[in-house]
């Protein structure tokens, strides 16, 4: 029932971004089955005999009272994973063929991920908004009010310029000096080789990098019945296009681009997911939780 709140077309009717995020995440979480893989509270793991130097706060005093032996209580703890969202705010993200633009979709997704990370997982989350420059940077944190700073940053992220991955990526390096999860949300209208070359260095600190390729469905399967004049949202260049080309060569080029994006990012050890703006948002959330479980939920720790 609550799954329907993951539909971007429905979320478009909600003006407040935090409410969007809460709706998405709560609906997503409520739809999950109870699973040992996705625990959010601290769970008991084992008892270990006390050795000198151990923190006395972890001693199970109840057991000590019954058995007069000193044991430490160990829990399966979840390590905090720093989540950094890189949001493309170039003009091309304004494109839409229905109610939800790519930028809206990206905002919903970013807001939901931030909410899930901070509110549910207690992970520090940060945001970098970029086009051909870094336009906004919010340092990852779990401080009070971090979620609202992130949502405000997302609200202010209006598409303005054209995309240039190479230039802002240089600055990303200085921001991302701690390992964590880096999610890049963009429409990636650039050569896959250039994109991979620009983003790959983010992995060098040990971060997991995942690319969310957001496209409008009509960008993948365009329809055109007659000749039309098209204008590029980023460069304002105009072009006369005929339907025959769109039906044949454009689709072939787009398919090849998507395929190459998938292959090159995976080859570089990065995750890649193609998301269309008419699809629910749960896929991104699922991916995020899977990443936390697989790569960044290691070891046992005290509660």
């Amino acid at each position: 029932m609550l799954q329907r709140f993951l539909d971007p077309a429905i979320l478009h009717g909600i003006s407040s971004l935090d409410l969007v995020a809460k709706t998405v995440v709560d609906g997503f979480v409520a739809g999950l089955h109870r699973s040992p893989d996705f625990g959010f509270s601290l769970e008991f793991a084992e008892y270990r005999a006390y050795t000198p130097g151990d923190d006395l706060r972890h001693v199970d005093w109840n057991l000590f009272a019954r058995t007069e032996r000193c044991y430490l209580k160990r829990y399966r703890g979840e390590t905090n994973s720093q989540l950094t969202l890189l949001l493309d705010a170039s003009n091309s993200m304004k494109y839409t063929s229905h109610a939800v633009s790519k930028m809206d979709y990206a905002r919903y997704m970013a807001a939901s991920l931030c909410y899930l990370a901070i509110h549910n997982q207690h992970d520090p989350a940060g945001l970098i908004v970029f086009d051909d420059e870094v336009r906004n940077y919010i340092r990852p944190s779990t401080r009070q009010g971090q979620l609202y700073r992130l949502l405000a940053g997302l609200e202010q992220a209006e598409p303005a310029a054209r995309t240039d991955f190479a230039k802002p990526m240089r600055h990303f390096q200085q921001f991302l000096n701690r390992r964590g999860i880096v999610l890049v949300i963009s429409d990636f209208y650039e050569q896959p080789e250039t994109i991979v070359k620009a983003i790959e260095p983010l992995r060098f600190h040990g971060s997991e990098v995942v690319l969310f390729h957001v496209l409008d469905p009509k960008e993948i399967y365009p329809e055109m019945k007659g000749p039309a004049i098209l204008v590029d949202l980023e460069t304002d260049r105009k072009l006369e296009v005929i339907p025959d080309y769109v039906k044949t060569q454009y689709r072939a080029k787009m398919d090849r681009h998507l395929e190459e994006m998938s292959e090159r990012t995976r080859a570089a050890g990065m995750g890649y997911h193609l998301l269309t703006t008419d699809k629910p948002l749960d896929r991104a959330l699922t991916e995020y939780l899977a990443l936390r479980r697989s790569g960044h939920t290691s070891g046992l720790g005290g509660a």
Partner: protein, 688 residues
């Protein structure tokens, strides 16, 4: 080429509108945005050319549409020389009215009709090769004698076959006929009219004789150019039926048209023998009346005439015929109550006082009338009898359906009874005006009367009659001939089968009204008796082209037994029967087309001898003034065609309007523009 309304060409400025719209559309074309042109390539030039071509075509169509609309309103036309002579229809109209029987000139032996036929044949012989012609006779009616044909023999035979007629021609009929013809014939028409151009042939309204635009009228006058003096027997007044030959008198009016004062000999002829002759002084261009006392005719029908020795050029109108029937007095059955002695007294006195009526009243009470055969009586009067023996009522109804007549008077006795014998209706109410409001004097009078009804020719005299009682009868389908001041029907005429029932809603005594004491009562009884006995229908003389009713149309339409199989028999003046057997079994009326005597047996079995005279307006041989003729011929077509004897009009410039063609092209352009524009708009809705 020219324009009838060139100021509408200012509408060509509207061509700027499509120009503006197309320029505007080009400027406001909104390219559709895409995220990136990374995967797009420039389309081929052919697509752009195709679209531009389509825009140009649409622009051209819109411009053409505006241009054509402006042209259509400007009414373009082009002049061309007169159409080929062979394309013009030649109409030869010959006046065969009664006046065309007059001599063609002083001392001439031929008639005007002979001259007209000769001139018409001359025109036909000079027509262009291949030109179609049509022959028309203009008598009492316009008759098409041929179809438009090229066959000279057929046309000449039609002209030669035009016999002298007795009708009265009117050029108004010709004008109406030509206007009707012009609606179906779109080629130019040349109408050659051969006539004596008699003044009485002019209609009352000149506009009636104006010809339509595509008719060129050429007038050919035959006969003398000036009016010819002519004496004629203008009218004869004689009884249609008489009993006492010594009391009968014949009154004839002798008229002179353009004549000097002269003494004319007037003869009264009965069955071919002159029984009386009188000398009469006729004033110059005036009228005189001669009276013959006594009309000694044998029993039965007699063919009579009043004749003058005019010694003028138009001997055909020197006599006027009339038919007289001598018979024993016809009996009228008067059924009244035994207690009512006044009604037969008043009615009988009035019937006896009537000059022309020849009826004997037979009063009888209802009880005595049981075994009476109504068919032996001229008509039957039911005077205030609330009930009659059923055997009498049935025989009366049968008699009426076979052509008999009944006069019903509803007096005070009927006020207590609803059903009216024979008539079939009911007395809805009884109006006693003696007990009326105080504002009147206790009586009412006749409010309105139909002077065209045969019983009420002198209806104005009824105005002085006072009515104290009247039965209120629902008129239904009956004709209401007279009403009282309060609207109560007073005299109703109901057709029943072949006969009729006349209902007088009051009594014939002097209790219910004082009409019997009024002089108008005699005239009413006389006219009613003649009307109900059938003398009205057959007596006197008729005019050529008038109609006589042979059977009741309603009865014939309903197919009643009385009408089925009842044939009429007509013997014309020439001794021939003009109707075929089929026509005789079904014809409702007959047109008396010739002068003379018609022997007619009607559907109801009655015989009549009807005398028919030509319309005496034809005897006035005055000529239409030349200026009027010029005006008339000038009113036809676009060019003036004065009275002349030329056989063809000179060539003239004809104007052909292109309006229809321009509008047709506009329609085509509009349809093409709609189709193209809809395709264009469909492209605009595409989405990427």
């Amino acid at each position: 080429m020219g324009f009838l309304a060139p100021w509408f060409l200012a509408g060509l400025l509207a061509i700027g509108l499509p120009v503006y719209v197309h320029l505007l559309r080009k400027q406001t074309t909104v390219p559709r945005p895409v995220s990136s042109l990374m995967f797009f390539e420039q389309g081929t030039q052919s697509s752009v050319r195709h679209r531009r071509l389509r825009y140009l075509l649409l622009f051209a169509l819109r411009t053409l549409l505006v241009l054509l609309l402006a042209l259509a309103f400007a009414r373009p036309f082009f002049r061309h020389k007169s159409v080929l002579a062979s394309d013009k229809l030649l109409l030869v109209a010959i006046d065969d009215s009664f006046s065309m029987n007059a001599a063609s000139g002083p001392g001439a032996t031929g008639t005007r009709l002979d001259d007209a036929r000769r001139a018409a044949l001359e025109v036909l012989s000079h027509r262009s090769p291949g030109q179609k012609a049509q022959v028309i006779a203009l008598g009492g009616q316009m008759r098409l004698l041929t179809q438009p044909v090229e066959d000279s023999n057929e046309l000449r035979a039609a002209v030669a076959g035009i016999a002298p007629g007795d009708g009265h021609a009117t050029f108004g009929e010709l004008g109406r006929g030509m206007r009707a013809m012009a609606e179906s014939v779109h080629t130019p028409i040349e109408l050659d009219l051969f006539s004596d151009m008699q003044q009485p042939n002019m209609p009352g309204n000149f506009a009636d004789m104006v010809m339509p635009g595509n008719v060129a009228l050429v007038l050919h006058r035959v006969g003398p150019a000036a009016a010819v003096p002519n004496w004629t027997v203008e009218s004869v007044e004689a009884p249609g039926q008489l009993v006492d030959t010594k009391k009968a008198r014949v009154l004839a009016v002798i008229a002179g048209h353009g004549t000097p004062a002269a003494t004319r000999t007037v003869s009264l002829i009965v069955n071919g023998a002159a029984i009386a002759t009188k000398k009469l002084d006729v004033p110059a261009n005036g009228r005189a009346t001669v009276v013959f006392e006594g009309l000694d005719v044998p029993y039965g029908e007699s063919r009579c005439a009043v004749k003058i020795d005019s010694a003028d050029g138009f001997p055909a109108d020197d006599s006027s015929v009339f038919a007289v029937k001598r018979a024993d007095p016809e009996r009228v059955l008067f059924v009244h109550q035994a207690s009512d002695t006044r009604s037969p007294l008043y009615f009988g006195a009035a019937l006896a006082a009537a000059a022309q009526a020849s009826f004997v009243l037979q009063p009888i009470t209802p009880e005595q009338a049981s075994d009476i055969d109504p068919s032996k009586y001229a008509f039957v009067v039911l005077s205030d009898v609330p009930s009659i023996p059923s055997i009498l009522e049935n025989s009366l109804i049968r008699n009426v359906q076979d052509g008999g007549s009944v006069l019903v008077a509803t007096g005070l006795a009927d006020s207590h009874r609803e059903h009216i014998p024979v008539y079939g209706g009911d007395v809805a109410d009884a109006h006693f005006y003696t007990r009326g409001s105080a504002e009147d004097a206790g009586f009412t009078t006749v409010g309105e009367s139909d002077a065209s009804h045969p019983s009420l020719k002198d209806a104005n005299a009824w105005q002085g009659a006072k009515f104290f009682y009247a039965a209120a009868v629902d008129p239904g389908t009956a004709r209401v001939a007279a009403r009282l001041a309060d609207g109560t029907p007073l005299l109703l005429d109901q057709q029943l089968g072949e006969g009729r029932v006349l209902l007088f809603a009051s009594g014939f005594d002097n209790v219910t009204n004082d009409l019997p004491l009024n002089p108008a009562f005699v005239a009413f009884v006389d006219q009613t008796a003649r009307y109900l006995s059938g003398q009205q229908r057959v007596s006197g003389a008729r005019v050529v082209d008038s109609f006589v009713q042979l059977r009741n149309p309603a009865n014939a339409a309903s197919g009643s037994a009385a009408a089925k199989g009842a044939t009429v028999d007509i013997v014309g003046p020439d001794g021939q029967r003009p109707l075929t057997l089929k026509q005789a079994a079904a014809a409702e009326s007959f047109q008396l087309a010739h002068s003379g005597f018609y022997q007619i047996r009607f559907a109801n079995g009655r015989d009549a001898l009807i005398a028919v005279n030509p319309d005496r307006r034809e005897s006035d041989l005055a000529i239409i003034p030349d200026d009027v003729l010029k005006l008339w011929s000038g009113s036809a077509g676009t060019g003036a065609a004065p009275a002349a004897t030329e056989s063809s009009t000179p060539p003239e410039n004809n104007v052909s309007s292109l309006w229809w063609w321009v509008m047709l092209l506009s329609l085509v352009a509009a349809l093409a523009e709609s189709g193209l524009a809809s395709r264009y708009l469909g492209t605009q809705r595409e989405d990427l």
